[in-house]
Symmetry: C2
Subunit: 249 residues, 2 copies
DNA sequence: AAGTGGTCTAGACCACTAC
DNA sequence: TAGTGGTCTAGACCACTTA
């Protein structure tokens, strides 16, 4: 279907960048499904009319961005971001001794509502747009540590129901992926200190006004499309947030 | 000086990884100075006895790790991590509207002391080891926003003086680099909520017990050598911490 | 004009996986 | 055994910088 990419770099962008965009476009078109292998490198190189080296450079970047996953001898696969292997990429709360554990979620509320100003701004919604807002209480090591208030646009999640959220088998992001075809491939998180209001004090079993960590996260899909706005509040008495981490090996 | 790298991958590691290690070794040996250009790619390829493609793959990784910086047409340079261009890699506090600004530091205290348990653990020091501890108050947009309590081992910073810290022309990390040859190339940060003690309340002009953000950072040099332990406390009423940020483009 | 890194090719061979 | 990605080569040409 897709034509050979022009060699003449008419737009001045490198060939491998054009190939990368073409691969991203094919991904967005749904031609290759989540978790499945994409065609082998030689075939893709031929399809896009470039050398294997150039094709590999494009794929390299997509692998670096966790959009594709390579397995030597098996093939190159469309990443499933909600997979367990990627879980701790998005879940960055650990016990203060460094131990990571999977949280147990409990749905506290679910409703359809008009987006407030901040959600509208973050999710790029027009005035009066509707969102689903649901609240999750997360338990780690048998203690209530964190409350997520999650906001997703109705336009993208048409028909989302409380039962769907409550009875999801995996993570929220795997629900987005499997039921709505929406892939979270990146996030931006800002962090502040806040204090517990009456609701959070009850949920987290702490006194009102206790200092909590507030994580404000916007999640994106392929075309930098914002798909979820989430505010998490964490009792950091025994847990902490893993922030920036860069290091050479 | 350095010999050609064996082609036979005797250790089973890829050639480009061996080249990368050789380049890192040459960096650590001091043969190439901070901020200066390393030899051109063709020369390095010849020196290590590999093709340019292989040499480039090794350099690619070092560039990705911010240890080297490439400038097309000029050369490849040993990164100076304290440079302004990298400042916001390590300084991740921004105003809530997203505006970044350089902080104005004010030295509040400086002393030589025995490392406490946590500093000893993080900095891998023996019992009774000495550290320098100094406290910096940071002002952003004319308001006192953040207090850094910084702890560095005397063994690495022998002779560090209060005047040296107070009168440094640039950042603390550029002081480490220029006066002690210590390069911060990576950090690990954990974040919690805390409350203001009497000192911090005074410095930050907030009531005692105000909820603050606490950032606990361990900074590393080349061989994963920990060189600085820092606890920052931030008034996040108008500012926030930029956490994880990954996104495709 | 000369020198640098940036891109691209058209292969070769190796390591790993599946059958 | 066949097919996959991983590594490596020995160049070519382009874009940018410096002088």
């Amino acid at each position: 279907m897709s034509a050979t990419i022009s060699h003449l770099s008419p737009s001045g962008t490198p060939l491998y960048q054009q190939v990368k965009r073409a691969v991203l476009g094919t991904l967005a078109s749904g031609e290759w499904n989540q978790g499945e292998a994409i065609p082998p490198e030689k075939m893709l190189a031929q399809r896009f009319g470039v050398s294997i080296g150039t094709l590999r450079k494009a794929i390299d970047e997509l692998v670096l961005e966790n959009i594709l996953i390579r397995h030597q001898g098996r093939g190159t696969f469309v990443a499933i971001h909600a997979h367990n292997q990627h879980f701790f990429r998005y879940f960055r709360i650990v016990r203060q001794d460094g131990v990571k554990t999977y949280p147990t979620p409990q749905l506290l509320s679910f409703r359809r509502m008009r987006a407030n100003g901040e959600a509208r701004e973050k999710l790029l919604l027009g005035p009066g747009a509707y969102v689903f807002e649901f609240v999750n209480l997360l338990t780690l090591h048998d203690s209530q540590v964190m409350v997520d208030t999650i906001c997703v646009p109705e336009a993208l999640f048409s028909g989302l129901s409380e039962e769907q959220v409550r009875n999801r088998p995996g993570t929220v992001y795997s629900l987005y992926q499997e039921d709505f075809g929406i892939n979270v491939i990146g996030t931006v998180e800002n962090v502040r200190a806040c204090t517990a209001d009456a609701d959070h004090a009850g949920w987290l079993h702490v006194p009102r006004e206790t200092a909590l960590l507030e994580i404000r996260r916007l999640a994106f899909s392929y075309n930098q499309q914002p798909v979820e706005w989430r505010v998490s509040r964490v009792n950091t008495e025994h847990y902490e947030y893993i922030g920036q981490e860069h290091q050479s090996h």
